[in-house]
Symmetry: C2
Subunit: 304 residues, 2 copies
């Protein structure tokens, strides 16, 4: 039993209406594995960084029992950098710059001992690389995959190839509309399910998430945060909490998928309270359970 | 016990990606009263129409037991007309034209027998007129009020005067941000509550609605419709179902406000399935209850 995470490790420079930060530790693999680690261990990472990736970030992941054997460190190179600025209501952001650096040459090699990973979570990377990862894995129980508009538009054919090997696709509402060419999200989910994944999760930012399976539509609210500090990584954190919960329970039944969505949403709500991965440090299981209970109260009504 | 509705009666020309319609019966007072009539009678309307307002629309309201004594008919005048075009995903629309016609001179006069109305629902009209209505009413149990960006921007002072006399304000998310000057919706709700209304309901279209009171945040999902035909009137229908349920139960406790939000959302989900008010015709109580149960299933998850 194990969780394999493949994705980016990055240094993010972020401006929000509440402040700014330079070279904060981020990247999909970092958020996913940190979140998943609250429910399951070990989580294994495959990714690439330069010699400038801070030691404290590696220590943080190691303390969370994340296995870094699959992390390639190019001492002479520079880590992937992204910078962006969020709009007033935090629902939109502009990318200001992207420096791929060592990530440009990322060619995921899955260590021998990772090849029997039961749960695979593919962060938002080139769909060709995602498929390359899957080719090296021995019959996983489930593959959870993220993507984005860039790949939908520029590598559509490759993405569709990858989708055939995916069990659960996680994407946001505008990406779902773009991929399916269908404005209605329930129909979009059905179109995307016909491309391969049996389960589609549509993230809607401050409006929560929809889980769409063959028989069910489940609507998870977003936690009503008063202090959203930095939305960066919220989607990856969602995916990490989701896959971590599935791995912990080893259960893909619909009822448990719903719970996994709530655990993913819960971790994401902690993530956005601070810059970068700071919000994912030192959470207790009690804190997490308290917030899950909050999610329940948020939508509960008594029939009369 | 009675419900008084004051608002517009209109003829709407609408284009959606699925078709178009000319001079469909609409207007806030029509949607609100038709929806409320499923839970309570009599519902009383105060509004104004021209001689061109179709008789079948009046018959429809009368069949729903809506009291039309307060409806002013200017035989020589023309009814308020609006036309608009919805975008691809139905979340946005452009107003193409607005002809106020008889509505320009609307000066609501509340018939003597309406003055003791226990529940008052003020559709989205000039806040000065809204206050004029309230001045003619004798201690209602609750006043529910809608507004829009136009009044927030152009009659801000008058709107704030009106808000002091309101119990429950219903508005959409962009209006809530505009009125409160606060991007975070939970905080926006608190700011608006400090302006007068003890309860604020923020409608989020396809993402549902938030109910904000002193102690509670309640998140109602939108029903996952595959066939949204025409969103016109959904917000008014929501308000109508909401006030109708409150009147039926005569109960303003938080638990019942949550139920009222679900009943409002339920009626709105029927409304958007057809053009104009067609979706609000001939519903059975069983159909409504079935969909309320659907709303419950949509967000229910079992803790493990």
């Amino acid at each position: 039993m194990s969780v394999l995470v493949v994705g980016s490790l990055a240094l993010d420079t972020i401006e929000t209406p509440f402040g700014s930060t330079k070279d904060a530790v981020g990247g999909s693999a970092v958020f996913i594995s940190a979140a998943a680690s609250y429910f399951f261990s070990p989580v294994r990472i495959v990714g690439i960084v330069g010699g400038d990736f801070p030691k404290h970030a590696l220590s943080f992941l190691e303390e969370r029992n994340v296995d870094l054997e699959g992390l390639e460190v190019i001492e002479s190179g520079k880590t992937f950098r992204w910078s962006g600025r969020y709009h007033y209501d935090l629902n939109e952001r502009d990318s200001l710059s992207t420096e791929l650096n060592v990530f440009e040459k990322f060619d995921p090699k899955i260590p021998e001992k990772y090849r029997k990973s039961r749960w695979v979570c593919l962060g938002n990377i080139d769909p060709t690389l995602q498929r390359k990862v899957l080719d090296q894995i021995d019959k996983p129980r489930a593959v959870i995959c993220d993507t984005m508009n860039y790949w939908i538009e520029r590598k559509n054919k490759e993405l569709k190839q990858t989708l055939k090997q995916i069990d659960i696709l996680v994407l946001n509402d505008s990406e779902a509309r773009l991929l399916s060419r269908e404005p209605n999200l329930v129909k979009a989910g059905r179109v995307i399910r016909s491309m391969g994944p049996s389960v589609v999760i549509i993230k809607k930012g401050e409006h929560g998430a929809l889980l769409l399976t063959e028989n069910t539509v489940f609507s998870a609210p977003a936690y009503p945060m008063e202090n959203i500090f930095d939305p960066t990584g919220a989607g990856d954190t969602f995916a990490g909490g989701f896959v971590g919960w599935l791995a912990r329970t080893d259960d893909l039944a619909e009822e448990n998928l719903k719970r996994a969505v709530i655990y993913g949403s819960t971790l994401a709500s902690f993530c956005v309270e601070k810059f970068g991965v700071e919000g994912l440090k030192g959470l207790t299981y009690l804190q997490i359970q308290d917030r899950v209970r909050g999610f329940r109260e948020l939508t509960r009504f008594e029939e009369d």
